[in-house]
Symmetry: C2
Subunit: 229 residues, 2 copies
Amino acid sequence: MKKNYEKNMENKKQLIANSILFAGISPDQLAELADISHVKTYGRGESVFFEGDAADGFYKVIEGKVKIFKLSMEGREQILHIFGKGEPFGEVAVFQGRPFPANATVLGKGKLLFFPGPEFIRLVHANPSIALNMLAMFSMRLRRFATQIEHLSLKEVPGRLASHLLYLSEEQRNRDQVTLDIPKGQLASLLGTSPETLSRIFTKMNEEGIIRLQGKVISLLDRERLEAF
Amino acid sequence: MKKNYEKNMENKKQLIANSILFAGISPDQLAELADISHVKTYGRGESVFFEGDAADGFYKVIEGKVKIFKLSMEGREQILHIFGKGEPFGEVAVFQGRPFPANATVLGKGKLLFFPGPEFIRLVHANPSIALNMLAMFSMRLRRFATQIEHLSLKEVPGRLASHLLYLSEEQRNRDQVTLDIPKGQLASLLGTSPETLSRIFTKMNEEGIIRLQGKVISLLDRERLEAF
DNA sequence: AACCTTCCTTGACCTGAATCAAGTTTTCAT
DNA sequence: ATGAAAACTTGATTCAGGTCAAGGAAGGTT
């Protein structure tokens, strides 16, 4: 029915306007974007795209989380990035007009908004403020990647975990306690290690009184020592 | 003398116009840029900036090479990027208005062109084509970082070296032979390993007939096996 | 609630690569 | 050209962490 359709459009407009990328867009362009974008729903662990796929458009997370990752020939996985609610992904490939450089898969279930590429490219070229928004976003990601490279190369696994916990503490604005927002196995893949090693380190930190493990909730008992890793 | 000054200005204009970043700039802006920029000369291994320094401007390589790197607490070094002739660096920090996230040092001697930050920022905001140029550049770097993360985490050192040799072969447009453009120790730091390990792997590949080592020149005898790493 | 599946933990073992040490070669500056 | 310094190689040793294996906990589904 028509009512439903219009409600849906309003919804999409909300989702689009409420993003770093499209902040400051004109009503016309907003309507156009809402018109060409569409919602896709994904079952648990379903793939969004694969490395090498043509980048015919990019996505924005509405519900759930999406991991961007690379696979080794032996099947080991390295997560490059995990995108949460509201975050766009895949724009780099679209902007470059090149295939996706990595795989994307939903963690758990998810709902995404899809934007066809050509229209987006036109928009970026026509609208300098979008280009500037993208620059800001890309800059952030370059920084994040730089730290990831630093950690992978210069820190051992305990240090990487410590950094991540402190990062979560910052993000969740809680100095005493953090909640893991992804399964431990996925965290291992994000930190560039195996689930076994990660588990051992959790246990060790727990025994040494640096943290207190309670399932997905982790109390940071000794920030001093966490920062020293 | 005045003659010299004007010749210098023309020189700078040349250097600026001849860059991906400022392609398509107006003559006025070019003149302005040439006016505010200035050349800096560096002795062998001299630092350009340190991690944490305020990013008061960015640079473009005129002569030599510049390495961007992180240091671990124990003093180990991981090179994030090496910039060669013509390439700009430091714009991310300037654009973000945040401190430099890593150190920059000249490899050998070098000559750089320095652009003060505020003027550059104004230019980016005023000139959409520069913003688009930057987007293209940042996109490339994001891709490179992604591969670097992939290699560090999913490949062992021989594989990383193999990839690098093939990359050089591509870059130098020579399928049979590549020339190392940086010292082996620096290459080790770029690949995230120690000089000792790198040396051993070179020797091994040489013995196994995969490559032939002749100082800085390396013949790729068996691309098949290099690609299989 | 009971099932099945997925996720997590712990143990035993093994290997890639870092580190320390010492010698050799190359490169640079005078 | 020549000595000093830096860069590279090779050997011996150590260890972080990956892999294989198997048991235990948790979570979603009927």
